[in-house]
Amino acid sequence: MVAVPKYLFFKGCTIPAKLPHIEKLALDVLPLIGIELEECDTFSCCPDPVQVQGTNHAFWYAAAARNLAIAEEKGMDIMTLCNGCLNTLAVVNHKLKKNPELKKAVNEILKEVGKEFKGTIKVKHLMQVLKEDVGMDKLKTMVKKPLTGLKVAGHPGCHLLSPVEVLEFDNPLDPQIYDKFIEATGAKAIDYITKIDCCGVSLSLSGAKESNDKCISRKLIDAKGSGADAISTGCPFCFTQFDMGQIIAAKTVPQLKETQLPVLYAVELLALAMGRSFEEIGYGNHKIRPALKV
């Protein structure tokens, strides 16, 4: 078993409320590959890097820094399953570490809640932990049931890739690491033209429904047409776009009705590779759930 540091589990808001089976899978399956998690009840919403960041920058920085300070008090690095949480916490962590004046200003605000940001911990997404701590080659040797025959289109998602100088995860214009994860599970990673296309979540959030449907459809039709049996992501917003969003988009984009491309969360794919059945990973909770053979 690889020696991976224990991580403080930043669950975020979306997974516990909307996709609790993902939370459960992470707690059950990640220790099998050496990733131990500690839960924490005093985190708040990260808060999100798309909407809340735009409301009031000082509040966004301070709320994120409060979460970071909690982890610093425990002396533990943070791991999250959500691209949005990663982006907020990693960007704030990075910027406060690099900019003493900003750090001083945020700490002045944090005095209101008796916290201080010191810049002593790291923030990682599960995919970064797999890449940097476990290693994809090592992960491959730990897989119990290689997903041979399953063809998966990887969708790392925008907020896992940028800003690259902060996240240092992969090339945002030609990402490969998520494909390496797919290959480590034994599945075949499918390349497709729209791989780096955004899932379009802001179109959904801002009410641009038809545009949102077009965005989702373009990506899923391309992935399916490229040979994928499923698309996989490590972001709950992207997951929801491709799952529930696919059902909704199919009403306005007839070609999508035939597509029926299921989405598998990163930890679901991992759980399958560790021997869990589709029923055990909560596949029955998915809106799009054609039978898949592995």
């Binding site: 808001c13 409301t55 920058h57 301070a62 959030l205």
Partner: protein, 163 residues
């Protein structure tokens, strides 16, 4: 080549970012911007980025919320421009002046009431219980902290005077 001039308060935004001054409308960002690609009002020549630089003030402040900060424009811009961060700043102005979508003001209310982004129903917690997970409930200490941070940073709640 045309240099884009923005119509709204230049100093407010440009004072923080030089990006909008250096855009020469090459359309590189258009190929990746999900708004340009999928919203009929925009195309490769008239991208969402250029729209936000050029639009009348109120239109820009309303439309900016379609930006999801995917940063593809930043990654591809040959001028090392950073429209994504200009638009984050624009969102702040928009929110403060009441032009953000109602859902965003609702999200802030929710955060300050519960510490998390979603109202959690009884059925959600029943589902969690079935999975052997702890119930989600508002943590009073977390909520109190967020309200203090909101007050200190003057985060406005629409229709109210702040947290």
């Amino acid at each position: 080549m045309e240099i884009i001039k923005i119509k709204y308060e230049k100093d407010e935004i440009v004072g923080r970012h030089f990006t909008s001054e250096i855009c020469y409308k090459c359309s590189a960002c258009s190929k990746f911007c999900p708004i340009t690609l999928h919203v009929p009002a925009y195309d490769l020549e008239n991208s969402f980025v250029v729209h936000l630089y050029r639009a009348e003030r109120e239109k820009a402040l309303r439309d900016v919320w379609m930006c999801c900060s995917c940063e593809k424009c930043f990654n591809i811009c040959p001028q090392d421009g950073d429209p994504a961060h200009v638009f984050v700043n624009l969102k702040e102005t928009s929110y403060r002046e009441g032009f953000a979508p109602e859902s965003v003001y609702g999200l802030v209310n929710q955060l300050l009431n519960a510490g998390s982004a979603y109202v959690v129903s009884v059925s959600t917690n029943k589902g969690r219980e079935k999975l052997g997970l702890k119930e989600i409930k508002a943590n009073e200490g977390v909520v109190a902290d967020l309200k203090k941070l909101a007050a200190k940073t003057d985060l406005k709640v629409k229709g109210g005077s702040g947290a």
